[in-house]
């Protein structure tokens, strides 16, 4: 491999590290490289075990290895859900309790509890004790979360299915409010 190719591989790797969850077309657009060149470097990086990819709907999304401890697929599913995105945004802006989140985004506490549990399991959110309350903060760098949310949007079908799921979640018994 020549020096120029090496430099390009490093550029692609750095880009993915700074923009986890980016897809091929976005990398092409931002790095102004040809599709073939980027595909070559992505295959190389995957073979070297430096990046991983997850196919979802029409796109393949790239992640730096280690950042999400092989939870990439589940993280894409989370980002597919409007409510989970809103919860992440709320946590990004303040350190809320579950009740705060329920009040801000106007959903049932059962629903908040269910989403928070999944976000904590995936390491996207961390629980912090504050007296008798539990507050939530981001578990990973906020710029990574923002980048993933920018790169990945739920389509109309997923937004509707998410609302249907919310409807059933709100019918669940309310538990663990705080």
């Amino acid at each position: 491999m020549n020096d120029e190719s090496n430099i390009n591989t490093i550029r692609v790797l750095q880009y993915i590290q700074e923009n986890p969850g980016c897809h091929l077309r976005k990398i092409k657009r931002d790095l102004t490289m040809s599709m073939g060149t980027i595909q070559y470097h992505l295959i190389l990086l995957e073979k070297q075990g430096k990046v991983s990819s997850e196919r979802h709907n029409l796109h393949k999304y790239y992640f730096p290895i280690g950042l999400f401890e092989q939870n990439e697929k589940d993280i894409l599913k989370i980002l597919n859900q409007e409510t989970a995105r809103e919860i992440l945004m709320t946590i990004l802006e303040q350190h809320p309790t579950q009740t705060d989140i329920a009040n801000i985004i106007k959903i049932s506490s059962a629903s908040v509890n269910w989403h928070i549990k999944r976000l904590v399991e995936l390491g996207l959110v961390v629980e912090q004790k504050d007296g008798k309350f539990k507050r939530y903060v981001l578990g990973i760098d906020s710029k990574h979360i923002v980048s993933m949310m920018k790169n990945y949007h739920p389509n109309l079908w997923n937004r509707w299915s998410n609302r249907l799921a919310e409807m059933f979640l709100s019918l669940s018994k309310e538990e663990n409010k705080q």
């Binding site: 599913k77 079908w157 299915s161």
Partner: protein, 100 residues
């Protein structure tokens, strides 16, 4: 009577058939939405709702071809249709009361 005979003997497409078709199509869309919601969230209670939407589509379909099901007694078809409606309500009830 085969299914092809049923379709051959069907009367020209009227408003009623159009509405029935729209209801079935809408129930199928709701069924597909529920399945997507289940795949994204893995909340089992959504599967009960999905089953209810699917059964609703089947109910409307059976109801619309009732006249052509000559091998079945009218009374039996009536009972089957009522049981389907009951099952739909039971499925929704389970979806509401079931714990995640």
């Amino acid at each position: 009577m085969t299914l092809s005979n049923i379709f051959l003997e069907t009367e020209p497409f009227g408003i009623e058939s159009g509405i029935e078709l729209a209801i079935v199509a809408f129930a199928v869309v709701l069924f597909a939405l529920s399945i997507t919601a289940y795949r994204n969230t893995r909340i089992k209670k959504i599967l009960f709702a999905a089953a209810a939407f699917a059964l609703f589509a089947v109910h409307i379909f059976v109801d619309s071809i009732e006249d052509y099901l000559t091998f079945l007694d009218e009374e039996i078809i009536g009972i089957i249709l009522k049981l389907m409606l009951f099952a739909i309500l039971v499925l929704f009830f389970v979806a509401i009361v079931k714990k995640k």
